[in-house]
Amino acid sequence: MNEFSITEPLFGIFQVLLLVVLSPLIVGIMRKTKAKSQKRVGAPIIQPYFDILKLVKKEEVVSDQSSWIFRCNPWVNFVATVSAAFFIPVSIVYSPFGVMGDILLVIGLFGLGKFFTILAGLDVSSSFGGLGSSREIMFSTLVEPALLITIFVIAIFYGGTNISTIVASANDISFLASPGVIFALIAFFIILMVETGKLPFDNPSTHLELTMIHEATVLEYSGKSLALIEWSQSIKQIILLTLFVNIFIPWGISNNFSLTEISFGIVLIIVKIISLGILIALIETRIAKWRLFRVPDLIAISIASSMIGVIFFFI
């Protein structure tokens, strides 16, 4: 353990700011990719920033049937996702705040945000909110075992649930620790698509009541609250993408605290996240929204895949 210096916490805060600031850009890039592959022109890639700015300027309308839960939900969501961002190693193999929390805490913070979103959907007495809440709770109960088994696989392969440990040992191993990690990768990719509301599960860009899941729970929001909710959703997405990149393709991430390696690491992680986002957007254009009751099939694949990952560890 090296001696305490002020630069490391400062760099950690800089990393969090990087994630928070860049997150709408990734959303914009994914929308642009989808538009391009569907032969549309599409909005410019910085459109999400304009959206947030516009929403901040607008007046907020709150239903008089709602309670304090409805008003505090955007803040809880935003604070939960931003504090989850503190534990993610971005461009260096360890997070300066990583001693305080591991991957289970990150999932817990996401769960807190989701819990309040579901409560807020039920809180306003609109029928859509309840519908969206019930669908969201169904998905999250189904995803929970898949997510935990996947994390179990990653933890037993890389020696601990602390994200810094996982990323450091993933970076040490030359190519792949074991074929079990490939199965964990497949499972984690499916979970990533569920959690960020991607196409076979959810289509946040439409306002049809048949396809709405996350969208229905936040339908009543307007103004600043909506801006906060959209922003925290995009931060959650970039956190999951960063986790995916750093656990499964960590090559080039900087090992020590030198300026050249860190700047190289930052450039590399941005390139990797953007390419992963483009890949996901291209996958999204190739498939249609699935029927709600077929979604458990895909989550079952995720569970089965991570189960095989566990088996590969013990043989």
């Binding site: 190519f175 792949l176 074929p179 490939i182 199965f183 079952a300 569970i303 189960m307």
Partner: protein, 222 residues
């Protein structure tokens, strides 16, 4: 002499084969089954070529090319031809005996079971056997499971072909290839089996207007 990177390559190819096999379980449409079978066979041919390069047996390259030619090109062509000619109204597995999610989890357990069976076997002499023998068991069990859990006759054919792939992998990894004559004979055998079962499929479709095997269970002469 096998280097660590080569063992890694063997492991990864085994994983890709397992993933391709899972594609068979999760697909519902006719062309999806045949495509899943085709991908699986292409991976299998690649694995045979890999075994050939690791163990330096040139005959296995020919076997790999034969696999690619017969199993990945000709048999899918026959199956697609059958699918096009069938006048069955529904070309989806509507309600299999076991639901999709349950069958995925059951097949994961079957993979686990094949690895546990392998733990109790006493033939772990070399790396190729260690990597591919449990996978071949898994292919065998999954093919068997597809046969007993699906209702459509075409799907059962694909399950049979998967079992055959498992046996083929078993034989290749255990013996590093039979003599070439036997291999060619086996391929011809499979080809003939597929042709005969597609003829049976035509007759079944013409008699019952569907290829649901439930129709075969009633022994009524009318």
């Amino acid at each position: 002499m096998i280097f660590p990177t080569e063992i890694n390559l063997l492991d990864i190819s085994a994983v890709i084969l397992l993933v391709a096999t899972f594609g068979l379980i999760v697909s519902r449409g006719f062309s999806n089954w045949v495509n899943a079978y085709r991908y699986q066979t292409i991976v299998l041919a690649g694995i045979v070529a890999l075994i050939a390069s690791v163990s330096n047996i040139w005959e296995l390259y020919i076997v790999s090319a034969l696999t690619l030619g017969i199993k990945a090109v000709i048999i899918p062509k026959i199956l697609f031809y059958v699918t096009k000619k069938l006048d069955s109204p529904i070309k989806l597995e509507i309600d299999p005996y076991v639901s999709m999610k349950l069958s995925v989890i059951i097949s994961a357990l079957l993979v686990a079971m094949s690895y546990f069976i392998f733990l109790y076997l006493d033939i772990k002499s070399n790396e190729i056997i260690q990597v591919f023998l449990p996978v071949s068991f898994a292919l065998f069990f999954i093919g068997l499971f597809v046969i007993v859990s699906r209702r459509k006759a075409l799907n059962q054919m694909v399950g049979l072909l998967t079992i055959e792939n498992g046996l083929f992998l078993f034989a290749v990894s255990l013996t590093h290839g039979f003599s070439l004559i036997i291999e060619i004979g086996l391929m011809a055998d499979i080809l003939l089996g597929v042709i005969i079962s597609s003829i049976l499929l035509f007759r079944m479709s013409r008699t019952f207007d569907s290829i649901d095997i439930k129709n075969l269970e009633s022994l009524r002469d009318d």
